[in-house]
Symmetry: C2
Subunit: 245 residues, 2 copies
C-alpha cells in the first residue's frame, strides 16, 4: 500500500486533478479543528459540519435552527457583532464540547484550513478526520479494510506547513506501514526524531506558541497532544458532515 | 536570525508577494541541478545559467556562440532532434563537468525545478545555490555576514517535495542555527533522524531510485551525497547567471 502525504496547503489545489476513488484520505488539523471534531463526536454529537466562513455557519442554522455554532476569531468566541446578530455557542477549544452540551446535536464549525483540506479530498474513497486523540483507532480502521492508497493530508496554517500536523501524519504512517513517498518519509522521520518528547515538540510549534500565549486556550495544546484517549473514528460524508463510522 | 524553509515547489508562487530584500535564499536541488552547478564552478566554469526550456538554451547560444549547453531528457543528453538541430555538450550529471571541459566557460543548463526555485527568489538580498558538496562553505559564508533572515528553498521534483533537498536544508539549518519556523523544524528533524545513515536515506528517495535504475547515472547519487568536498560558494546574480562568490 502506498502512503503519500500532503505537507502544505499550497499542494491542495493539485488534488482536484487526481483520481482519488481508490484513496483513503486522512486529514490532520491538530491545533485544533480535527482534534475538536473528534472530541465532539466522542462526546455524543451527531455530526460536525466544517465551513470556512462565519456567514456559511449562520446560513446553515437558518435552515436547521437546532444546530449549534462553533468558531472564534483571534482566540475569542464569535459574537453577534461579527456574525450579523448571532452569538456562537462554542469557540474552537475541544474542551468546550462536553457531553451535556453536544449530545445528539449537529455542530457547524468555522475553520479555514481544516475545511479547505477536507474539501480538497472530495471524490476520495473515504475521508477521515483524525488527531492524536484517536490515532490508533484511525489506524485500526484503515488496516481493517486497506485502501489502494492512503493520502495523509496536513491542513497547515494559512499557506504554510504546521509541525503538529506533520508529526501526526508521521506517527500514523509508522503505525500503518507500507510504501512511503518522499513526503511521507519526511513526516515519519520528523515524528521519529520527536516521539520521545512529543508534547514538548508540539508545544514548540508556531500554532502551539500562539495558543499558549492566550490564558483561556493554553490547556488546548496539552489536550490535543494526548495519544489515543478516544476510540472514535470520524469520516466526512458526501453531505459535508463528519460523523462516527 | 529567522530560518524559514520552503518544502515544496507549490509554495514558490507565494514568494512573489514577499519582500525578500533582507533575506538570503539558499536553493537546494540536490539530485542534481545545484550539485552540478557547484561542481562546474568548482572545476573552473566562469558561470552557469539555469534555464527551464531547451529553446531558451539554444537561443542563449545563438547570442553567445562560446557557450556550452547542458541538459537531458529522460536521462539522456539532449540531441539535435530534440533541440532544433543542436547537440548538447553535457547531460545533467555533475561528473561530466570536468576541469578540462568547463574551465573559463559559460554553461547554460536546462533544469525545470532548479530554475523555477532560483527565479522565485528574485529580489532577495542574495541567492545561493547549495548542495551537500559545499554545505560547510555555504554556512561559513552566511555566518560571516548574517542576513536578517535565511530562507531555505527545496526545489523539489515536479510539484512535489524531494527528500534529499529537505535533508540538505535540515543539515544547513543545524549548522547555521537560529529561530526555526515549523518547516525548518521539519527539515531539521528529518535530517537528524537520517544523519547517521545519510547516503542510504538519500539513496531511498524517489529521485535517487530513478537515477539508480539508469546505469550511466547511478554513480551520481553517491557523488551528490558527499559532504563538503568543495569550498565553493555559488550565488545567482541579477543577470540570472550563477558564479563563485
Amino acid at each position: 500500500m502506498n502512503l503519500e502525504t500532503i505537507l502544505t496547503p499550497a499542494e491542495l489545489p493539485a488534488l482536484a486533478r487526481r483520481d482519488l476513488r481508490g484513496t483513503a484520505c486522512v486529514v490532520f488539523d491538530i491545533l485544533r479543528a480535527t482534534s475538536t471534531f473528534v472530541t465532539a463526536l466522542q462526546n455524543g454529537a451527531q455530526a460536525v459540519v466544517p465551513v470556512s466562513e462565519i456567514s456559511e455557519a449562520v446560513a446553515f442554522r437558518k435552515n436547521m435552527p437546532d444546530t449549534l455554532l462553533a468558531g472564534e476569531r483571534d482566540g475569542v468566541k464569535i459574537r453577534a457583532a461579527q456574525s450579523g446578530g448571532v452569538d456562537f455557542d462554542f469557540g474552537n477549544s475541544p474542551r468546550e464540547f462536553r457531553p451535556e452540551k453536544v449530545r445528539g446535536k449537529t455542530i457547524v464549525s468555522t475553520t479555514t484550513n481544516g475545511t479547505r483540506a477536507l474539501r480538497a479530498c472530495a471524490g476520495a474513497k473515504i475521508i477521515l478526520a483524525s488527531s492524536f486523540l484517536n490515532l490508533a483507532a484511525t489506524t485500526k480502521f484503515l488496516n481493517a479494510s486497506p485502501p489502494e492508497e492512503i493520502l495523509l493530508v496536513c491542513a497547515g496554517t494559512g499557506e504554510g506547513v504546521a509541525l503538529e500536523d506533520v508529526l501526526a501524519a508521521g506517527a500514523l504512517a509508522g503505525l500503518v506501514g507500507g510504501e512511503f513517498s518522499d513526503a511521507t518519509e519526511i513526516a515519519s522521520r520528523t515524528f521519529l526524531y520527536a516521539k520521545n518528547d512529543l508534547a514538548a515538540v508540539i508545544a514548540g510549534s508556531q500554532n502551539a506558541r500562539r495558543l499558549l500565549a492566550i490564558p483561556e486556550l493554553r490547556a488546548d495544546v496539552a489536550f490535543c497532544s494526548q495519544r489515543d484517549i478516544f476510540k472514535t473514528v470520524a469520516a466526512d460524508g458526501a453531505d459535508g458532515a463528519i460523523r462516527l463510522v
